[in-house]
Amino acid sequence: MSGSAVLLQFLNGLAGASSLFLVAAGLSLIFGVSRIVNFAHGSLYMVGMYVAVWLSAKVGFWVSVPLAALVVGTLGAVLEIALLRRIYRAPELLQLLATFALVLVIKDFALWAWGPEDMLGPRAPGLTGAVDIAGRQFPQFDLFLIVLGPAVFVFLHVLLTRTRFGILIRAATEDREMTGALGVNQRWLFTSVFALGAALAGLGGALAIPREPANLEIDLALVSDAFVVVVVGGMGSIPGAFLAALLIGEIKAFCIGLGYSEITLVAEFIVMAVVLVLRPWGLLGRPLAEARTPALAETDYALPRRAMLSLLIVLALVPLFSDAYALVLLTDVLVFALFAVSLHLLLGPGGMVSFGHAAYFGLGAYAAALLLLRAHAPMELALLAAPLAAMAGAALFGWFCVRLSGIYLAMLTLALAQIVWSVAFQWNAVTGGSNGLVGIWPAQWLGSRAAYYFAALGLCAGSIAFLWRIVASPFGQALRASRDSPLRAEAIGIDVRAQQWAAFIVAGTFAGLAGALFAFSKGSISPETLSVPRSVDALVMVLLGGIQTLTGPVWGAALFTWLEDAVSREVAYWRAAIGVVILLLVLAFPQGVAGTLKKWFSR
């Protein structure tokens, strides 16, 4: 690259960094104060884009920008008051489930309101052209962004350090309970911070329209970028987010400038993984204060043995009186139930949130496929050996992950999963690239839907029983002790990290088995088995069923799979419908379906 090419790419990186920062700053504020992992932040950004494109046709671009921020800020306040406020007392992750449902609803709302076609907004009046820099054309609007990013940063910095509102935000970020104990009205604080964060997302969206069209795919693409920036910078740290946005913006620009554009597929996740391994709380973050919420009513992980046995018998009899499709659907339910139960071992007894559990599911699926297609192993062997690949992956990743905690651990699992995904996506010769691999069918004797259903039933039920047994074992007890009080656990001689690492390995192995079963039930796999949505599905299943019960993940998997199947058949806007159902369930059953039902019955 010539000197001027370097300069131009540097400027491109700065412009990209500014727009990243706008979104990330809002997300960081919201997380810092309310600890909500707001999946819907990208959706708010998307709404900002659509509103800005729509308004700029009526009132002009420059007026539409603040209006869009205002509209989205108001929307944020409404969502917080109407929805999130009701579930702050629920287990922490339930808010994540609620924001996931919002993503679904908002996406379909945008489709309904603005139609399926991408909407390219106007150029910014006054900044439509380019200026000559080092003999090359550089857009005026990008220069404006380069200035705006730091300006917003200074504004937020002053707000946080010089105003009473800012002091309260920082106090709540540092120690939420103490702030409350000192008489600060937390409700008002949470609402206003959520509205501010949403407004920043709306502002970011509105300012993006001269550079990219409003489209329905932007929400999830954006929220993962924003999360990476926030985590790399350190959750809750605005200067950190700014620094991280700069780092990632520049790295991406130079990957492209130097001709390594393929790396942009995962560049930010590689950065995140490296940063988290070296600095467990991000670049400028500090260890999170332990939330002193009253310990969750500890679930008794007792198992309704008789009920489960009868269920098993009923399931074994299903092929006698059902049609063939019911077996296909139930096979899916069984596979996802095992996947969810394996995740639950980490989430529940392990106390470790994983956003990247699909990595092990996908490793199992790919290992099975590769053993069958490339190594020409018998199908039975491929099925049973595949979990070993997932086990190896979990051992490797778990070793790094258990050195972190909380949201940082979750984001490292996500980063590692994305790296595995990108390898599968890019390595055409071995993994079939984005198309994946086809022709992964079970052996002859398992070829019929009923035979495969029985195989899946046997393996999944056996594995689930084993995983449940583990929770009650001495290892499970030690794991739960490590979750509830790492200090005391260590004091009585438990190697906390070793327990957590072992939990990772066990959970990964069984996720791998689920993945291998999935591969043979579908006959083909693609990188989708490793993707973020697959990880999120598993989380949703666990949370829907109830994280504090043992059987919850199974019910969650059944409910979610059945919902998807039934709703997508009957309703045109099925994503929104699923979102609404999840929201209603979240509000009605804050302990998860199984958890709440159990509570009712035990009264």
């Binding site: 090419a5 131009l8 790419q9 491109n12 990186g13 990209g16 489709l111 399926p116 076609e117 991408d118 909407m119 390219l120 052209g129 380019a130 090359r136 054309q137 857009p139 990008d142 550079r211 990219e212 069209p213 489209n215 795919e217 693409a221 991406k252 620009a253 492209i256 400038g257 001709g259 554009s261 942009t264 009923v314 059902s322 049609d323 063939a324 499709y325 019911a326 296909v328 659907l329 899916d332 690239g433 984005s434 198309n435 994946g436 086809v438 022709g439 069918w441 839907r449 579908k522 006959g523 083909s524 693609s526 989708e528 088995t529 059945w562 998807e564 997508s568 058949r569 806007y573 994503r575």
Partner: protein
């Protein structure tokens, strides 16, 4: 309750109808698939008004496949096992298309893949039960090569979305252009992630390589970002651009007054094609839906007619007979006559090749010609080798 929901078998309804089980990612790619659905429904109404097939009504059972191969396979199983459809049809993304094709082969059900572009669905992974309607990535790339070679540009830069479609378009283009124009140089290659192009940096990097011409397979939001940045930064001032698919209304219309002049594209100039067969289609479509047809409309419309014609030719709705009937089936479409090739189950439906132009703040295609899909194929021995037959 859930178990009951799962087991409840829907009442057997209209057992007399011939059923097409159509699965597609309606909510993931709505810009293409909403017009597609309208095209299908128009065809269905026309066919049933004129007496259906085999004296029976043709029925369309549509399902959303969620855009993932795993869900699509489950949905296809439902169509096969519960709905007992006679034919599977549809799919959009290549990985979903391949997964359903693979299932069709396993369950021995005819699958008419209407939209997926991947070459593999009829070549490397082709199977007895899978047929594909649209011109493949290879075919559409090959359609652009004659114009590209004519220009005698030496230095080419390439930009493509980083997944199978973009990769294979790029590989085919390099191979075909090098054959047509020995000595051509490829000076830069950019592969941004699908839907996430960092357009400023990509345009800059391409400009640094000082290419004479650019081959792009970008589409949708990526294309719009690329065009706007390129316009602002003057990338297209002295560079000819060839862009697959950019002339399709789905991707061209959002560009409006940004539409770059003179780009060579494949697409569908719906307002300008005045052959009798296209006029009839366009009039019927506009009358029925009060809007103009998109590329998706033509694909949906033709896919339903393909199935209907195959049933008529076979005089049966039985899978094996339909497979034989589709091989070599000749039929009329809004784009003119096509043949379903027996050798690889690819239809010869073509595409329009032309140049982009701005008219009244909107994009349109000029200097266009119809590129007949029959002419842009690998040789038969090459295909047989790929299909391992």
């Amino acid at each position: 309750m859930i178990l009951l929901g799962v087991l409840a078998t829907p009442l057997v309804s209209q057992a007399q109808n011939v059923k097409i089980g159509e699965l597609n990612s309606y909510k993931v790619f709505p810009a293409f698939l909403e017009p597609y659905k309208k095209g299908m429904e128009l065809a269905l109404e026309e066919i049933n008004r004129s007496g259906g097939v085999l004296g029976r009504k043709l029925e369309l059972v549509t399902r959303d496949d969620g855009g993932t191969p795993g869900d699509a396979v489950r949905v296809a199983e439902e169509l096969i096992a519960r709905e007992r459809v006679n034919v599977l049809m549809g799919t959009f993304a290549s990985n979903v298309g391949l997964a359903v094709a693979n299932l069709a082969n396993q369950r021995k059900v005819l699958f008419v893949a209407s939209e997926p572009l991947t070459d593999k669905i009829v070549w490397e992974n082709g199977n007895r039960y899978t047929f594909r309607l649209r011109p493949s990535t290879y075919m559409q790339t090959a359609m652009l090569v004659p114009e590209a070679a004519k220009l005698k540009k030496r230095r080419w830069a390439i930009v493509y979305p980083n997944y199978e479609y973009g990769q294979s378009a790029t590989a085919s283009f390099k191979k075909l252009l090098s054959q047509a124009q020995p000595g051509v140089e490829f000076v830069a290659e950019q592969a941004p992630a699908l839907g996430k192009i960092d357009a400023g940096a990509v345009v800059q990097a391409l400009a640094e390589a000082k290419p004479d011409a650019i081959f792009s397979s970008l589409f949708a939001a990526d294309l719009q970002k690329f065009v706007r940045e390129g316009n602002t930064r003057g990338l297209f001032r002295n560079t000819v651009v060839f862009n697959l698919l950019a002339g399709e209304p789905e991707y061209l219309d959002p560009l409006k007054d940004e539409t770059p002049e003179g780009w060579w594209v494949t697409g569908y100039p719906w307002s300008e094609i005045n052959t009798p067969e296209h006029k009839a289609f366009r009039d019927a479509y506009q009358k029925r839906w009060k809007e103009y047809p998109r590329q998706g409309s033509v694909v949906g419309y033709t896919a339903v007619y393909s199935v209907a014609n195959a049933i008529r030719k076979a005089k049966s709705a039985e899978t094996e007979k339909l497979v034989e009937a589709l091989k070599g089936l000749q039929m009329q479409t809004p784009f003119g006559p096509i043949v379903w090739r027996a050798i690889d189950h690819q239809s010869t439906m073509g595409a329009y090749v032309g140049q982009l132009s701005r008219k009244d703040g909107k994009g349109t295609m000029v200097n266009w010609r119809y590129a007949d899909g029959a002419k842009y194929q690998l040789s038969d021995p090459e295909i047989l080798a790929l299909r391992k037959e």
